[in-house]
Symmetry: C2
Subunit: 190 residues, 2 copies
């Protein structure tokens, strides 16, 4: 999506440690008109694919996932993060390592919010190593549902998470794929 690449070049900021700051339009401060357009673009890419529900994880995934689910006119579910690994019987859960914060979280979804046989589109703001998305894929599988695909606003191609999912046969659509970034600038995948 050309508009996403232009937005990243105009408003994004590259920091040391493979950090791309886009908090002025994608998280924290959300450019609602732009994110709504992103939602429509993901819906267009998945046109003709059966999708029953959109799944994301709090908090930074919620806005983009809401925009995608609105454009698809399907419900959206978000997983909650908790520090403890104590999980009650009425929840699906997966352990997720955060590269950014070097912590482990348990992500949880109520059993009543995912059903066997459903086709789930997993959406997140970033796809880097893919740890969070792999946790969500595990939850979808625990529910007996299946992954219709993955969509990310921004993929850090050089961290490999997206390509690992593609190799595993999962459809991944990212609105922009950053192949390289440093103090000299940002290079997108063609």
């Amino acid at each position: 999506m050309k508009a996403m690449e232009e937005k990243i070049l105009a408003e994004g900021q590259v920091l040391p440690g493979h950090v791309l700051k886009v908090g002025d339009f994608l998280n924290y401060r959300i450019d609602t008109d732009f994110i709504s357009e992103c939602g429509k673009e993901v819906a267009r890419l998945y046109e003709g694919t059966k999708i029953d529900k959109v799944l994301t994880v709090e908090a930074s995934g919620i806005a983009i996932a809401f925009a995608v689910a609105s454009a698809l006119h399907v419900p959206m579910v978000y997983a909650k993060k908790q520090k403890t690994s104590n999980v009650s019987d009425d929840l699906y859960s997966a352990s997720v390592h955060s590269y950014t914060h070097n912590t482990d979280n348990t992500v949880i979804v109520s059993r009543k919010h995912l059903s066997a046989g459903e086709r789930i589109l997993i959406v997140d703001d970033f796809l880097a190593l893919g740890n969070a998305l792999n946790g969500l894929i595990s939850i979808v599988e625990q529910a007996g549902a299946s992954v219709a695909g993955v969509a990310a606003a921004i993929e850090k191609g050089f961290q490999g998470g997206g390509d690992a999912l593609r190799s595993a046969g999962i459809r991944v659509e990212s609105l922009a794929i950053v192949e390289q970034m440093d103090e000299n600038g940002i290079v997108f995948r063609k």
Copy 2:
């Protein structure tokens, strides 16, 4: 909003301790078409009022705030919650007591995401005692911005937070006001 009252009666669940569960359409699992309609209704109620930005707090406020901000075509900012009270210089912060979890959180917003002179609409899923909203109001004031109004999807009228804000001269619009709820049912404010 009649549709919100009907939705609460059809899908809400009253639990002991003044808990109203609406996790099947308002939080966790989000009925995107319905929440988009709620966003449009809030925008309609505030028609003619100058609003530069929508402010909410993660995580359950994000979806409804995104819907409101989309309908108003303004950006949306969400405050983050943190357990510690350590706050860096580039943040506005306020302490918020959670009645539900009996914990204190610090809510934070980057200084660059709110500007002096802006008119801010504060949006949240629930308005009960008003603790979270009062924290957001404090942050708006710290930024030298002003509160254009408050909007909540559901107000628990019997907990008094909304009426306290109204008494303080703040405009509050709630899409449904629960006056009373128990095992016998739910009574809305006329």
